[in-house]
């Protein structure tokens, strides 16, 4: 069956900060450009999850009058704390001893989901056509191999792949340039990186899994504008990670945890580390008497400069974390994602008007503050492969004394799916029971995400080899998917003494961790039917 097609000057895949910035900048450069933007969530913002302490640098360039446009950027950072946690003790690290990149005065505590909703309003006001609920699930190519556009997903397919009465075929969106802005581990971006060998000569990409909860806390514990980070407990010296706790407005705190997906122990459960973290006395006293109102999780990119793929290819560009522009020591990726979108828009405009090659994207990137930021940040994350303590000492030297200008570049040696050690060689971790006050099970957490996928649709988590989880991964790694999935999608169930690998795909909150961490890369995340997934509010 042939699909309908629609032609645009520029087709953008993904309605996060990078895609929306690309769209707005394009229309600013030329109001006559036809620009459309596809988003897999049911509305813009519903799949966005981020800390978030926001640096306005890129927004100042994109919409200099943002303060007059009723933006959701309201809470200025007023105070900062950094704690090292022991099991029960905590040590406050003087903020003057923090590298400049980790200082946050002039920044704001925001909800990135709300910022994206607002950016979408700005984009629609200048004529960008935004289509939420339409995942792009296929890349279309011209005969010469260049990217021609994308196709949206067919809707109304049952779990066996047959058409239901409500079947609605996908359509082809053809762009003179297609911009991929899917965020970390975009499932089309991944295919493009492979097909065009965009990561040739680069270090393997590094990822983390980030959790976030929003708590409404008691007045006496709330200090609007306070930004706090911690390192240390409950993680050991060899596992990379830390927490954030931001006091937003309305008596809310944004509380979260990030763990590097290069962890080695297959018994580790990132979700349970996060839950356990909340029981530390230094954290407990803040959320005591409060109420958890939101939960979510999302993978993020940590590879930085060394792992950044080539961001252009014939007919298409990668922007934001579909490439990997997050600045790890700064713990920020929104302003860099937006900047990459702005540069992409400038590139496309010159490409369309003056017939310049899309490769000028790289030159523009190299001449921008974005490149300088990522270059200076490059050695921090790899230094933590030596452990927390050496990592901190090195980072102090690299960031405070040399400001990122040391004359060498440390390498990321392994991809995250290669780092797990066999289960038998690693210690089991017994996590405490959930108390339903500070800590909660996965089911009640997923309930808060509003996640839903239409019944009777094909499973969107594909196994390359359906027998591998039981025949190999369970035996060798005790099937870590049961633990790294933050939504309880994967289970091993015993049926008459026979182990079965169960995929509860309806619970999936689209974090992409399984696609990254599965030791044999056996799980492929693809887009489910449009509008499925979490319905995050102000995450």
């Amino acid at each position: 069956m042939s699909r309908e097609s629609m032609e645009y000057d520029v087709v953008i895949v993904g309605g996060g900060p990078s895609g929306l910035s690309t769209a707005i900048k394009l229309k600013q450069l030329d109001a006559n450009l036809n620009v459309c933007l596809l988003e897999k969530a049911s509305e813009i913002g519903a799949h966005i999850l981020s800390g978030n302490v926001f640096e306005t640098r890129a927004l100042d360039e994109l919409l200099p009058n943002w303060r007059e446009l009723n933006s959701p950027i309201k809470t200025k950072v007023t105070k900062e704390k950094f704690l090292f946690l022991g099991k029960t003790k905590s040590l406050s690290w003087p903020t003057w001893l923090l590298p400049a990149v980790q200082k946050n005065h002039n920044n704001y505590i925001i909800s990135l989901a709300n910022l994206c909703r607002w950016l979408a309003e700005q984009a629609e006001a200048v004529g960008v056509e935004i289509f939420p609920g339409f995942p792009a699930n296929e890349i279309l190519y011209n005969k010469d191999g260049s990217v021609k556009g994308v196709a949206t997903q067919d809707m109304g397919i049952d779990k066996e792949g047959n058409k239901k009465d409500s079947f609605e075929p996908g359509i082809e969106l053809l762009g003179k340039v297609t911009v991929f802005a899917e965020g970390c581990r975009g499932h089309l971006g991944k295919q493009l990186i492979e097909k065009f060998e965009l990561n040739k000569g680069k270090d393997p990409q590094q990822y983390g899994i980030g959790f976030k909860e929003i708590w409404e806390i008691e007045d006496k514990n709330h200090e609007e504008g306070l930004v706090m980070h911690t390192a240390g407990w409950p993680l050991d010296n060899n596992t990379y990670g830390g927490s954030f706790l931001y006091h937003a407005n309305n008596k809310q705190v944004f509380l979260g945890y990030v763990i590097g997906l290069d962890y080695k122990n297959p018994h580790l459960s990132p979700y349970d580390e996060f839950q356990r973290f909340k029981t530390h006395p230094a954290i407990k006293k803040i959320i005591q008497g409060g109420k958890r109102i939101s939960y979510g999780a999302r993978a993020l990119i940590e590879g930085g400069f060394q792992s950044l793929p080539k961001m252009f290819m014939p007919g298409a560009l990668l922007v934001g974390c579909d490439a990997g522009t997050l600045n790890m020591p700064k713990i920020k990726g929104s302003h860099t994602a937006m900047k990459s979108g702005i540069i992409a828009a400038e590139t496309i405009n010159e490409h369309l008007k003056e017939n310049k090659n899309l490769s000028i994207y790289e030159d523009k990137f190299k001449n921008s503050w974005l490149h300088k930021e990522l270059y200076e940040a490059r050695n921090v994350k790899p230094s933590f492969s030596w452990g927390l303590i050496l990592g901190i000492i090195f980072t102090g030297i690299d960031q405070i004394l040399f400001r990122g200008k040391l004359p060498f570049t440390l390498k990321h040696k392994h991809a995250d799916h290669e780092t797990l050690k066999p289960a038998k060689q690693m210690p089991k971790i017994i996590y405490p029971k959930y108390d339903n006050i500070f800590t909660f099970d996965k089911t009640s957490s997923v309930y808060l995400t509003g996640t839903n996928h239409t019944d009777n649709q094909p499973v969107h988590l594909k196994l390359k080899d359906p027998n591998l989880p039981i025949n190999y991964t369970l035996e060798k790694f005790d099937e870590p998917a049961q633990r790294y999935c933050p939504a309880g999608v994967y289970e091993i169930q015993k049926d008459n003494d026979v182990n079965k690998f169960i995929i509860n795909s309806q619970n999936c909150i689209h974090c992409k961790t399984c696609d990254i961490k599965e030791p044999s890369q056996n799980i492929i995340w693809i887009t489910p039917e449009g509008g499925g997934g979490p319905k995050y509010g102000n995450m």
Binding site: E4, M6, S42, E43, G45, A46, S111, A113, N114, R117, E129, F131, F134, T152, M155, G156, K164, D165, S166, E168, P169, I171, E216, I293, Y447, L448, G450, T451, N452, G530, K535, G537, N538
Partner: protein, 249 residues
């Protein structure tokens, strides 16, 4: 035949509802909103009837704040021909909405008015019935099957005892059950086309309807938390607990 379909914007059914701290209502800021699910069935049925050549025009109508217009736009994307948005702020009770619909019916002169059997936010299940009384038209509520027969409708109703089939004269009000049909998806080209379809905007005040609430809302609070269950060792303990603790036997 002309069909008027009423749609309402409500908090999406997947969203966990949170009550405002001061007990004045529920939180709607930055919460995903959608069309009330059975209203989608109402639109779908109207479109099916039109596709079967038994209706000539479908008009979608909503009453509410600025953003309520999204629901009309969605109805246009799945097959309604034009829209009406009656603008009104604040709490709108079923009586106010049915009075507004009555005024619009007087003007539009539809043969049928469809809507969902109830809205999932206030669960009132009143607007269709009140409109029927105001217009003095027959009504068929909780419809799970509708057959259009010349100037009559044969409607199967979902009732407590099972299914009831009735025949009513047109013009009529029909409130729709979720079992009526499976609403279609809005395709991307149809969403594009819907952006160009006309939506007439009317201020509720211009219709001469007093929309002020007749009910006073005292307090909104969350339902009590369910207590965790316990495991009993044997039947004797169960009986003992049912007798002495639960006091149900």
């Amino acid at each position: 035949m002309k069909i008027l379909v009423a749609v309402k914007r409500v908090i999406d059914y997947n969203v966990q509802i949170r009550v405002k701290e001061d007990g004045s209502g529920v939180i709607t800021d930055n919460v995903k909103m959608s069309t009330n699910p059975p209203d989608d069935n109402a639109i779908e049925e109207a479109v099916k009837i039109k596709e079967a050549g038994k209706a000539t025009e479908i008009v979608a109508i909503t009453v509410g704040e600025e953003k309520a217009q999204e629901t009309v736009r969605k109805a246009l994307a799945v097959g309604a021909d034009r829209g009406i948005h009656v603008k009104a702020e604040g709490t709108l009770e079923p009586l106010a909405v049915s009075k507004i619909l009555q005024k619009v019916v007087d003007k539009e002169k539809p043969d049928l008015v469809f809507m969902g059997k109830q809205a999932i936010d206030d669960d009132c299940n009143q607007t269709g019935q009140m409109l029927s009384a105001l217009l003095n038209w027959p009504q068929a509520t909780f419809a799970s099957k509708i057959d259009v027969k010349d100037n009559k409708l044969e409607v199967t109703r979902e009732i407590d005892e099972g299914l009831e089939t009735i025949e009513i004269n047109v013009p009529a009000i029909v409130t729709c059950d979720l079992r009526l049909n499976e609403p279609r998806y809005a395709s991307l080209p149809n969403i594009m086309k819907a952006k160009k379809k006309p939506i007439e905007e009317i201020n509720a005040s211009d219709l001469g309807v007093d929309v002020s609430p007749r009910l006073q809302q005292l307090k909104v609070e969350e339902p009590p938390k369910r207590k965790a269950g316990i495991k009993v060792a044997n039947v004797a303990e169960l009986v003992q607990k049912l007798k002495n603790e639960a006091k149900v036997i």
